[in-house]
Symmetry: C2
Subunit: 303 residues, 2 copies
């Protein structure tokens, strides 16, 4: 019986703060299998990273010491091994800048994050998605938006990250919708796209007023019976609208914008950006991460 | 031995969501004694309000069934008894609009809150502070700012609340500083007033950019060693600056502004408002609440 693992040539790893994903990969960049763990960087001591990855892989590597290319928070100072930030302007860090980690079971390389001195900013993981974007769309120029817990916006020119910005939009949405006085007013599992579309345009044009509208979501529920699904969509529109308004002061948003993210969230950002005249293209976050890691593996093979 | 309680003529009560304060009062508005309880409206069923207040007062009323004037969340629909909102424009609700509650131990009257249909907004408690402001400064005209968990701004003319707005600034500060990715970056017990002053002016002038600066508090800590006390003051400046910028689109902030609140927070708002040319006067929140409740008691005596 042919063991699937016998075909794996290397391992791709995206190691975040709260979760970790690993893929068994063929040399040509095809994923054979994905595995998922809740052993995020935030819950591990330095010596626990290799056992956590080894446990997740089990005997899938068939006893071979395969190359493992890692991006994300595993490279933070408090992570598995520090992969020091590369400063913008820079190309997404290549395998030659990776930190090699002494590990028995795998030949581990952790890709660095990217930093910006002023305005101060950092990323770990998104730079690999940008590498994936550039692998998929060689010669891409313009703005890339990576929405999420901490949304990143970056300007790309000549294959380099020129500058970037982080917005805490996703985390603010989670805190406000889950824990603030608004939590009952916006408690819904339904996504009300029309309510989002109605609100986001004004939020982009008048973002200062958005802050004044948060509590109104509760008051409208009390006084006028506003439905939680509509209130939730409006809360999202206010926060995303304010983010886009702030991004627009820094980045040119009239042209082509690549949005890299999970299915639901990229649609919301795409609707908002289209409403102000942007020409949007969508890229799946997981696929783009994998393309970035694969590009690094190809560099390793050619080095 | 003369019992202090023998002198009490009535009881003043400020019943919030998480806490309750009661004062034993003389007819002339002098407070004899204050008592404090964590039995906020949010933790009580309807039938538990009277026992909670009776337990706090103990035998301090000397067996007399004194009048009790209550403001705040006890008058909410889920509270002790609903005291339906009065709609703006209106004077702060008077005792004639209060809800009388059947209670054995006290003659209880709950003052209504105030509502605004559009933009939808509600207050419960602050209207009594506005009554106190008008009792202390008869003829006051202009803007009153009541900073707190949910800051209120109101325009007062001819003794009436013309319109008002709520900002979730205090709650956002608590959530971001206590639970977000910034929590370690802003963990400090020190208040860095110069850092606040440096940041708040720009935050008022460029509030849209403030959202983009939140994550920079963490990045500046990582890259440039920004001190937590300074980061905390800047976070406060960004949020308060955005609030003032939004308030300025609705209210005239060049003239006299009354700020009603606790000592620390009114200073921060006062510094910010003074920096844009406002002429600020400070009123203590507790004293102003008590003056509002006392005004209602005087109405009761004269009715």
């Amino acid at each position: 019986m042919a063991d699937i693992a016998e075909c794996a040539d290397w391992v791709a790893v995206d190691w975040g703060t709260t979760h970790m994903r690993a893929w068994l990969m063929r040399a040509d960049g095809t994923a054979i299998e994905q595995r998922h763990s809740d052993k995020g960087m935030g819950s591990l001591r330095r010596e626990e990273f290799e056992p956590a990855l080894a446990a997740l892989l089990g005997d899938a590597c068939g006893g071979k010491r395969l190359p493992a290319i890692v991006c994300g928070m595993a490279g933070a100072r408090q992570g598995w091994a520090e992969a020091a930030y590369v400063a913008v302007p820079c190309a997404p860090p290549s395998i030659s800048e990776a930190t090699q980690v002494p590990a028995e079971s795998l030949d581990v390389r952790i890709l660095p994050g990217v930093k910006q001195d002023a305005p101060a900013d950092v990323m770990r993981g998104e730079e690999t998605q940008i590498a994936g974007l550039l692998a998929e769309k060689p010669g891409f120029e313009g703005v890339v938006c990576l929405p999420g817990t901490h949304s990143k916006w970056a300007e790309i020119a000549d294959g380099r990250i020129v500058r970037f910005s982080t917005f805490m939009t996703g985390e603010l949405f989670a805190l406000i919708s889950g824990q603030s006085v608004l939590r009952h007013s916006v408690a819904s599992d339904v996504w009300d796209q029309p309510a989002f579309d109605d609100a986001v345009g004004e939020a982009i044009e008048q973002p200062i007023a958005s802050m004044a509208k948060l509590f109104a979501l509760r008051a409208e529920g009390l006084l006028h019976g506003l439905e939680p699904a509509a209130a939730r969509a409006r809360l999202s529109a206010y926060l995303i609208g304010a983010e886009i308004a702030a991004a627009r002061e820094v980045y040119a948003l009239e042209g082509r914008i690549a949005i890299v993210g999970a299915a639901g969230i990229v649609k919301a950002y795409g609707a908002a950006l289209t409403s102000i005249g942007a020409e949007v293209r969508y890229l799946d976050a997981e696929r783009t991460t994998l393309m970035g890691l694969t590009a690094a593996y190809a560099e390793l093979c050619n080095s």
